[in-house]
């Protein structure tokens, strides 16, 4: 602790920054429900996403149960659909994996990164008192609620069952699937609401990061988390409108009011002359491939929206836990930018076998394989960061190490799918299921688990329990690898995705025991998450109380009280150096050197601190 830091600890009894803009006692509703405080909004996002993670996980267990023990009644959850004897019907199965992906992607991964941590960390890390547009920020959370409502209505009407990719014509024609009526329409509206929510966040993050940095916080003094959030926000701003437009196109294709109004009946994705389920032949002229192009033009960059913030946060946590600067700060920034840039020209690798022009397959293969390069550079730099550090194995470190280890697997397995000829065989098999779960679960969620443990003291002023954290990590890691590593082998055996009962195909019969092992692992992983919830909930009241900077970290957020009051900082922070000056020989007093510590010879802000207290 520097002298100024010590003075702050005692000089201030946490709570509100006096003189911060808009400081007055707020009503319960304004403070906890319709709050415009970025920290409260971030925590609202965090609670919502943790809840949704359990919902999405339950749906996944339903999927896994059916694949491992087809047509047997599901234990525990079976009574919820008792009319079928707890048995998962093929329609229900199709709905389960569609809604699992929808919930996990749109209501967990994207909002937990950008919504929860983006909101909580951006103003604190750049030294701002709040977001640039606090009301917009509040709306960004409250637009999630109608989205959740729409997805719930979709459940009520039988559940969308065209996959989360909603490929036409399965998603486009009402006759094509049993629940393709209102369920799919509400699903589309849900996705649109999520998109609006993300877009509001994105505009806000960009403005805040560009305009509201503390004095001295130059772009290259920003922590990598902030760089990642900025790049993510740019990705969202440019990619999302395409999905929203495509969503409306599909909605217009589908809308049917009945009666004299009939409907809109555009045919963007519907060719003519199709006879689906003995309905009248379609009148069309549309092109189903158009949807795939539009959808993946958003959804591929979305993969990086689901990954980059975690990369940034892990870089910050790792540097702190190793007491060592991030290895290659600028290469880290440039590689993230490269991933984002290349991310816009690789969407076609989802469509290698879709029937698009084969020449496109070649160009998309080249760009896709080259995106492995910045990813590799990042891995080398993380390992370089650990090299020569002074590491402590706590829950944060473990989750960060798992993040790197899992990202290596997910990155490498991606090369098989990027190579077009090999992808012919692996496309839509469990190989791809293994690959993207290693990225969005293995990588992103382990990063998020670490981040929850790391920033929890800043959110609540208390630490989370280490023993419970380690048990949670162990169960998640073992369960995760037990569930997803064998899926690579299923993929090599040609096991297709989204099959309610794969074992009617002779070449898949012998894979049932392996699938049962996977399901048992998935159940272990699922129950492991209760450790996280329990730890999260009880630490709120029972956790060890901590001061401003429990980890001895450098960022501006650790300069604010824990938890920060309305307006964040009791003393306006000034940034004097980069975020990773750990173990700097020019600063022998302590092994970290906060961004706010003035260099020797400069006036220390103790006078200011006195004035405030």
């Amino acid at each position: 602790m520097s002298a100024s830091g010590v003075a702050l600890e005692h000089g201030h009894d946490h709570e509100h920054a006096h003189g911060a803009p808009g400081h007055h006692e707020l009503s319960f509703i304004k403070k906890y429900v319709f709050s415009t405080d970025h920290k409260m909004i971030g925590m609202q996002f965090l609670f919502t996403t943790l809840l949704m993670m359990m919902v999405g996980g339950t749906l996944a267990l339903g999927v896994r149960w059916q694949v491992a023990f087809p047509w047997t009644s599901m234990p525990l959850f079976g009574p919820l659909f008792a009319e079928s004897g707890g048995q998962i019907s093929p329609e229900f199965y199709t709905m389960l994996f569609t809604m699992h992906a929808t919930v996990m992607i749109f209501l967990v991964i994207i909002p937990v990164l950008a919504g929860a941590f983006g909101n909580f960390l951006i103003p604190l890390m750049i030294g701002a008192d709040d977001m640039a547009f606090p009301v917009l920020n509040m709306l960004s959370y409250w637009f999630m609620i109608p989205a959740i409502g729409c997805f719930a209505l979709s459940f009520y009407f039988g559940g969308a069952a065209a996959g989360w990719t909603a490929y036409p014509l399965l998603a486009d024609l009402r006759a094509a699937a049993p629940s393709s009526g209102s369920a799919q329409t509400f699903w589309l509206m849900g996705v649109t609401f999520v998109g609006v929510s993300s877009m509001m966040g994105s505009v806000n993050y960009m403005t805040t990061i560009i305009n509201m940095r503390a004095p001295g916080m130059t772009l290259f003094r920003m922590p990598l988390t902030i760089w990642a959030m900025l790049i993510t926000a740019i990705l969202q701003a440019f990619a999302l409108p395409v999905l929203t437009a495509a969503g409306f196109m599909q909605l217009f294709d589908r809308l049917d009011f009945g009666g004299p109004l009939e409907g809109i009946h555009t045919v963007f994705f519907i060719p003519s002359g199709l006879v689906v389920n003995n309905a009248d032949p379609t009148v069309g002229g549309g092109q189903p491939l158009l949807w795939q192009h539009l959808f993946w033009f958003y959804s591929h960059p979305a993969v990086y929206i689901m990954l980059l913030p975690a990369m940034g946060m892990v870089s910050d946590m790792l540097a702190c836990m190793c007491r060592k600067p991030v290895f290659g700060y600028k290469p880290m920034v440039f590689s993230m930018s490269a991933i984002a840039g290349l991310g816009f020209i690789v969407w076609g690798h989802h469509m290698f076998i879709s029937g698009m022009n084969p020449a496109l397959g070649m160009t998309f293969m080249l760009s896709t394989i080259m995106i492995a390069l910045p990813s590799a550079v990042k891995v080398f730099n993380w390992i370089g960061t650990i090299w020569g550090g002074r590491l402590q194995f706590n829950t944060v470190t473990l989750n960060c190490a798992a993040f790197i280890s899992m990202f290596i697997v997910g990155g490498l397995s991606g090369i098989f799918m990027a190579a077009v000829p090999v992808d012919i065989y692996f496309h839509d098999t469990y190989m791809i299921v293994a690959h993207f779960h290693y990225i969005v679960f293995g990588t992103t969620l382990f990063g998020v688990f670490g981040a929850i443990q790391f920033w929890y003291p800043k959110m609540f002023g208390r630490k989370m329990d280490e023993t419970l954290g380690k048990w949670h990590f162990l169960l998640s890691f073992v369960g995760f690898n037990g569930a997803f590593f064998p899926m690579h082998m299923l993929g090599i055996a040609g096991f297709p995705r989204r099959y309610a009962d794969p074992y009617i195909h002779p070449y898949l019969e012998h894979l049932m025991p392996l699938n049962q092992f996977i399901t048992v692992s998935a159940i272990i992983m699922g129950f492991g998450q209760f450790f996280l919830l329990y730890n999260f909930g009880t630490s709120w009241f029972r956790g060890e109380k901590v001061g401003r900077n429990p980890w001895g970290a450098n960022g501006l957020e650790w300069f604010a009280p824990s938890p920060p009051g309305h307006g964040n900082f009791d003393i306006p922070p000034v940034c004097y150096r980069g975020p990773y000056e750990y173990s700097n020989p020019n600063h022998p007093d302590e092994d970290h050197w906060m961004q706010t510590d003035p260099p020797k010879g400069k006036k220390k802000p103790e006078g200011d601190a006195g004035a405030h207290s």
Partner: protein, 274 residues
């Protein structure tokens, strides 16, 4: 505790490697060698990538485990203060980019042979054997009719009155390149022949040619690989690869069955076969 965790991060990659190495023995691997030569080349590309990927996997995981060990057992008072190394960044950017570029370019010709029509064998391109139309939830197969000598006519894009129809059983001759026109009647499907390493989506409103040259007789699974509705999993069908004479006889039988008016004894050809 730190020994346990270091061991943990070293142990899991070893377990993963051992597990992958024994997988072929448990049949958790390709469903047999490819039936086509092109599929064999796809397998070879897979093994090439597998070797590179395994080397990188071992290298990076060992580096990670070793760094964790070193860092957690660091006896220095302070961590090593460094912001990085320009030379290292150059090395670990250039070396992977060369390997990746090689990998990408090395794939091109197999892809061209598989998918670019001007690279298809001429005989296959000029005389498609059959048209396969996917629909919820079956595969409809249309062969061209036979002329007076029993030789298959040219397959027209539009159905002809003497075309031969069957469902879920795709017969093809062995040893010569055959081309199939793939279509869909309703939603999107995907024509997946795992033993031949072939997969192609069927798009409504589009006709997509696929070719292959089966080298081994037998019955092989044909499955749908693109979600097409609740019955996606049950689009089970088979590809029957047989000798040229058997294939011709099959077409004759198909014609006789199709022309059977309920009075005469069913096809003389079928009798001969028995």
């Amino acid at each position: 505790m730190r020994k346990f965790w270091c061991g943990f991060f070293i142990f899991w990659p070893i377990a993963a490697i051992i597990y992958s190495a024994v997988s072929p023995q448990f049949n958790w691997w390709f469903p047999g060698p490819s039936v086509t030569e092109l599929g064999q080349r796809i397998d070879n590309l897979f093994y090439l990538i597998l070797i590179i990927v395994t080397a990188v996997f071992i290298g990076t995981q060992v580096a990670l485990g070793y760094c964790l060990w070193r860092a957690s057992h660091n006896k220095e008072e302070r961590a090593w203060f460094t912001h990085g190394s320009h030379n290292l960044e150059v090395i670990w950017s250039v070396v992977p980019s060369v390997i990746l570029l090689f990998l990408a370019l090395y794939q091109m010709d197999v892809w061209a042979l598989y998918r670019v029509q001007s690279f298809f064998p001429k005989e296959a391109r000029e005389a498609p054997v059959a048209e396969v139309t996917a629909r919820q939830f079956e595969w409809r197969i249309r062969y061209p009719g036979l002329d007076e000598h029993g030789v298959p006519k040219k397959l027209h894009l539009k159905p002809q009155p003497d075309d031969l129809y069957t469902v879920n059983d795709l017969h093809v001759p062995i040893g010569r390149p055959v081309m199939i026109n793939l279509r869909s009647d309703d939603v999107q499907h995907s024509f997946f022949l795992p033993h031949l390493r072939i997969k192609q989506d069927a798009i409504p409103g589009q006709i997509i040619p696929i070719w292959f040259k089966p080298e081994r007789p037998g019955n092989f699974d044909l499955a749908c690989a693109e979600l097409c509705g609740w019955g996606h999993y049950k689009m089970r069908a088979q590809l029957i690869v047989e000798r040229e004479v058997e294939f011709q006889a099959y077409l004759q039988k198909l014609r006789a069955d199709q022309n059977y008016d309920g009075h005469a004894t069913p096809s003389a050809v079928a009798k001969k076969d028995e």
